[in-house]
Amino acid sequence: MASEQTSAEMAAPAAIDGTDVESAPAGIPDEVATERALEAILMIADEPQSVVGLAAGIGRPVADVRRALAALVADYDGVAGTPRRGFELREVGGGWRLYVRAEFDDVVRDVVHTQSPAKLSQAALETLAVIAYKQPISRGAIASIRAVNVDSVVRTLLGRGLITEAFTDSETGAIHYATTDLLLTQLGINSLDELPKISPLLDDGSRGFDDV
């Protein structure tokens, strides 16, 4: 299905190239056309767009898409003499997405009324940290690290879509939890690798605590 779509769309950018060339005397290189097509898709995107998904969408090689995205970031950031736009392109939560540039967040806040959910409690934050660093992890294992019952907090995090049930241990029946891309998005990072490094601390101490 993806291949069919790709071949179908391979024609489109070519056609666009043609029209662009007509209107632009100097001729527009393919890579610029790629940037423009990416811009169009990002305009309707509701969530972060993966490079692979974008490449399939416009029928271009992944490497081209990566280059074009980098060029767009630089373009919007105004690093090469272009205006520094009121918006920016960010890689967050496993994909690319247009954001209002941070310095305009205040201006924008008065115009749109987004409903932000209540802040997470300290308990929820700490539990989230445990899951983020130790995933996949069972509720019993979280509880033994936190030294308290975490059922209701885990439910909160599930309800917020920040964690998900990764798998169920076939022997113990314990559900193991992992974090979601939504968490990455809400943290403003692109992958778990961007979490601060505290890993050396975390590999011991769980020994000997029953994974209830």
Binding site: L42, V92, A123, T127, L128, A132, N149, D203
Partner: protein, 291 residues
């Protein structure tokens, strides 16, 4: 994986910076807002106490948790509202961890009465590692809080699809039965979070502090002093012990009980001291904990 030297170094660095110049992160609340402990074996900020314990420069068995708790309750009276809840939450989590540690380190477990017992030492090492871990995650959680707060102010483009594109949306496949739909509604309406900030991790939801308090009160009101050991006799879950401990703290806050411990680690005796107690007081007890 065993704790590596590198890990220890990192912990020490994190811990050592805590008492005075913690850079605006996790540890500052104790150190800067200043709950201090005054004991015969230690005098200084609570966080430093924890630091020393984690660095094994101070023996947990030297610390009378009840004395620390007394001081903390006194300290709390000087705070108001939100600060009080925050600090109480913080303190209780650590207190429960320490208590847990003490129980495992001190109470005879089967035949392991000898403190020199190798197995007991191993258990203490594990608990030690656990306290470190607890602190590491607590520090990480500050980073999470910071990032989540910063990012919640950001605005991603997320707008209604233009009509001309909407027609290309694949036709909806509806697979939810009427009963499933009602079940989803029920799930959605089920409260996900106990609406008390930051305290829901202090109890197992299935154990009511109020119920445990009622049990404790009924034992104490007979008039005879009762030891904490007696109070938790028959408790088959750790959660019940914790709930009775918390219930005692609450009762102490209501000036309904007094404590007596003749020597460090000695028997903790609880005495009923309320002058005009009505069972109505019980109704509100533990309300802070959502129970």
């Amino acid at each position: 994986m065993a704790p590596s030297p590198e890990a220890d170094a990192q912990v020490d660095a994190a811990v050592a910076s805590a008492p005075d110049a913690a850079p605006a992160e996790t540890t500052n609340e104790d150190a800067q807002r200043g709950f201090r402990v005054h004991l015969s074996s230690f005098d200084g900020p609570f966080d430093l106490l924890l630091s020393l314990i984690s660095k094994r420069e101070l023996d947990i068995t030297e610390i009378a948790l009840s004395a620390v708790t007394d001081e903390f309750l006194t300290y709390l009276r000087g705070l108001d509202g939100e600060d009080e809840l925050e600090e109480a939450s913080e303190f209780l989590v650590v207190a429960v961890t320490l208590l847990d540690w003490k129980i495992a380190s001190l109470l005879p477990q089967g035949e392991l009465v000898d403190a020199e017992d190798v197995a007991l030492l191993e258990a203490r090492d594990l608990l030690f590692a656990r306290l470190l871990q607890y602190r590491a995650f607590k520090e990480a959680s500050a980073w999470f809080a910071e990032r989540l707060a910063a990012e919640s102010g950001r605005h991603a483009r997320s707008v209604r699809l233009e009509d001309r594109f909407r027609e290309r949306t694949p036709e909806l496949r509806w697979t939810t039965s009427l009963d499933d739909f009602a079940a989803l509604a029920l799930l959605a309406f089920t409260p996900r979070e106990i609406p008390v900030v930051g305290l829901d991790h202090l109890h197992a939801p299935l154990i009511s502090i109020r119920e445990q308090a009622a049990h404790v009160v009924s034992l104490l009101r007979r008039g005879e002093p009762v030891t904490f050991r007696q109070l938790i006799a028959g408790a088959d879950q750790k959660g019940v012990i914790v709930a009775r401990f918390l219930a005692l703290l609450e009762l102490y806050r209501h000036a309904a009980v007094g404590f007596e411990q003749l020597e460090p680690l000695g028997e903790l005796t609880v005495r009923w001291t309320a002058e005009n107690w009505s069972d109505e007081n019980l109704v509100n007890l533990g309300a802070d904990y959502g129970q």
